[in-house]
């Protein structure tokens, strides 16, 4: 990792006869540019976080914000909170995770344990990659086309969860696949040697070994999909009251609360929008911390 050429040269004379001024200048220039690029990336990050905090801190510091909905409040009335939207975001996210996790893990198991280099495995890998790049609005339109246009079912939180599943599955597959691949083959072979059938080996040996990493991946994926706005815009209507029913009726979520209250020109409106923005960032950060914590707590002890 030594970068300077004359580091271990005790003599005054450099090992190599002087690096020409032009080359040195180029080197310095490149170093400066590369460092600058990093600083440029920090500008929007700090700026965004600052704007959100400056505009919304007042809202989230109020205890009502975390325990009440906006039901019955007029557009310009202060007070109330985002409880209904927090619940909605978590519900939709958790239902999505409950569906996406088993599918994602099974696909990963297939790719690692069964697929090998078969044509289906290669197609699956490719399609998972493609699914990663599917825009959230397309996922939402697909669910709309199937769920609402063809089956004639109403808009509901469940439809949102299904659209989120499309976005979450490829992320779960990717992370689970990586975790399964690093399970040492010794473990598998030891299990086979004891006469344990392959599926039991996978369920009792391989998956438990990789579980901590897979859980981390699931929680991270969940953190991502909870901030998605396009599906909630198309697949569910906003409700200012608390709704625990994911199968029917309107349900708020933090992104939806923000899009709805953006049309509220009063101070109360901007308070709600930016308050919801902080809340959303907080929840996502919390989930990421939870992921890091989970991976620590559940990591298999290495002796």
């Amino acid at each position: 990792m030594t970068t300077t050429i004359d580091l271990d040269a005790p003599a005054r004379e450099p090992t190599f006869v002087g690096v020409s001024a032009g080359r040195r200048m180029k080197n310095a220039g490149a170093t400066a540019l590369v460092g600058l690029a990093f600083l440029i990336a920090l500008v929007p990050l700090i700026w965004v976080v600052y704007s959100v905090l400056a505009n919304g801190a007042g809202a989230v510091l109020n205890s009502q914000w975390w325990s009440q909905s906006l039901n019955g409040l007029l557009a310009r009335q202060q007070g109330g909170g985002a409880y209904h939207a927090i619940i909605g975001t978590l519900f939709q996210g958790l239902v999505c995770a409950a569906i996406a996790t088993p599918i994602g893990i099974m696909v990963a198991v297939y790719l690692v344990e069964y697929g090998g280099r078969s044509r289906l495995a290669r197609a699956t890998t490719f399609m998972v990659d493609i699914l990663t790049g599917v825009p959230s609005i397309v996922a939402a339109l697909f669910i709309y086309a199937v769920w609402i246009s063809i089956f004639g079912l109403g808009r509901s939180a469940l439809a949102v969860s299904l659209a989120l599943v499309l976005l979450m599955v490829p992320v779960v597959v990717r992370s689970s696949e990586e975790m399964l691949r690093i399970v040492p083959d010794d473990l598998r072979e030891a299990s086979y040697a004891l006469g344990v059938p392959k599926w039991k080996t996978i369920v009792k040996v391989v998956i438990p070994t990789a579980l901590s990493g897979m859980l981390t991946g699931v929680v991270l994926a969940l953190a991502r999909v909870m901030g998605e706005t396009a599906p909630v815009l198309i697949l569910v209507a906003y409700a200012p009251y608390i709704n625990f029913n994911i199968f029917e009726g309107n349900m708020a979520s933090l992104p939806l609360l923000m899009t709805v209250e953006r049309n509220n020109p009063t101070d109360a409106g901007s308070y709600r929008v930016w308050g919801a923005a902080i809340t959303l960032i907080l929840i996502i950060t919390l989930f990421q911390l939870l992921a890091a914590f989970l991976s620590k707590v559940t990591a298999p002890k290495t002796k």
Binding site: V109, G116, P135, L141, A230, R262
Partner: protein, 356 residues
């Protein structure tokens, strides 16, 4: 924002993947699958039970894999099924029409040319901004920054990917747009002869143009480009770097002669994945861009709508299948577009991976 690569690298220090030196998600692992137990070693009675269990489990796993493949097909198919009646009822030309009138199911007249122009220009502009910066960051984090701080720094860049796009939209429209207005005015005034900076079709003072949207989009795709480039650059063979150093190369010369040639394909495909993301970005652009009936002139100071932003803007109040179908048709085009871009990016990665 869902990107597996970024997600994977966000996993933190406790992640077992890191202890093994980090396996890149884009490259297929080389571990050979372990041999299955030889059936002849097992007692006959257990064998049938085990085989049955194996068959069922294998069926489930294979079925899940096949489901993934079928899912992509289903997305295309169902969007198509919904789009066809509207396309048949369309009075305009879908591919070359420049207006999108879909509100009245009895008088559909919609085309996607205008949307394509805006979508492509805003995405390319974002890419042009984000590519050099992303390259710089990836080099900084892998080659320049001390090991100790590289990880927390990388985490900071990845944090950008964790900010929901609706928040970027609000920030872009209400904070960034007024702040960069002087730059926009300067460009418009002094370089207005160049088509990119000519007078746009929405008032400059509103800031609701491709210029603002592109900058926000660039910020949003930066973490994707950075994360994948970083992984590729990290795998530059140590021996090549040492050899260059031994020849007396400066740091920059090392980078130029070893890291860049090695990582070029990865960097390009990372940028294409960023492009795919930019093409489909919805809410941020919906908030920032102003719609306009005027034709797109190619200027960065034009308004307009992208595929995704237009769909999101109009979809909430639709209640008949024909109108919805028109928007679904536009969504289908977006799907095909992102499919092509993403597939190309993956092919480049796969090929470079095979070579490396």
């Amino acid at each position: 924002m869902t990107d597996p690569t970024v997600a994977a690298s966000l996993a933190g220090p406790g992640d077992p993947g890191d202890r093994r030196g980090g396996s890149a998600s884009a490259v297929p692992a080389t571990t050979a699958p372990a041999a299955e137990p030889a059936p002849s070693l097992l007692k006959a009675g257990r064998r049938t039970g085990a085989q049955q269990g194996d068959r069922i489990f294998r069926g489930f796993a294979t079925g899940s894999g096949a489901f993934m493949v079928a899912l992509i097909g289903a997305i295309g198919l169902f969007l198509l099924i919904q789009a066809v009646p509207s396309l048949l009822a369309n009075k305009g030309n879908f591919l070359t029409g420049r207006t999108f009138e879909a509100g009245d199911p009895n008088n559909l007249n919609f085309g996607i040319l205008e949307l394509s122009f805006v979508t492509v220009e805003v995405s390319i502009f974002a890419l042009v901004l984000a590519m050099p910066v992303g390259l710089g960051i990836a080099l900084f984090l892998t080659q320049y920054a001390p090991r100790r701080v590289a990880r927390p720094f990388a985490y900071l860049v990845d944090l950008l990917a964790a900010v929901p796009s609706i928040i970027f939209g609000l920030w872009g429209a209400f904070v960034l747009a007024p702040a960069i207005l002087p730059i926009a005015e300067f460009l418009n005034e002094h370089l207005g002869w160049f088509f990119l900076f000519q007078e746009g079709n929405v008032p400059l003072a509103r800031g609701a143009n491709v210029f603002t949207a592109g900058i926000v989009l660039a910020v949003m795709i930066l973490p994707i480009i950075t994360a994948i480039s970083r992984e590729v650059f990290e795998r530059t063979p140590r021996a090549q770097i040492e050899a260059a150093l031994a020849l007396g190369a400066t740091k920059w010369e090392v980078v130029r002669t070893t890291v860049l040639p090695f990582g070029r394909a990865g960097y390009i495909s990372a940028s294409m994945l960023g492009l795919g993301r930019a093409l489909g970005e919805t809410i941020a652009l919906m908030i920032i861009l102003a719609a306009t009936p005027a034709m797109f002139s190619g200027s960065l100071f034009d308004g307009g709508a992208t595929f995704a932003s237009m769909i999101a803007l109009s979809f909430a109040e639709l209640n008949n299948n024909l109108s919805a179908g028109a928007f679904i048709a536009a969504g289908l085009v977006l799907f095909v577009l992102t499919f092509v871009v993403n597939a190309a990016a993956r092919l480049i990665i796969a090929r470079s991976g095979a070579k490396a």
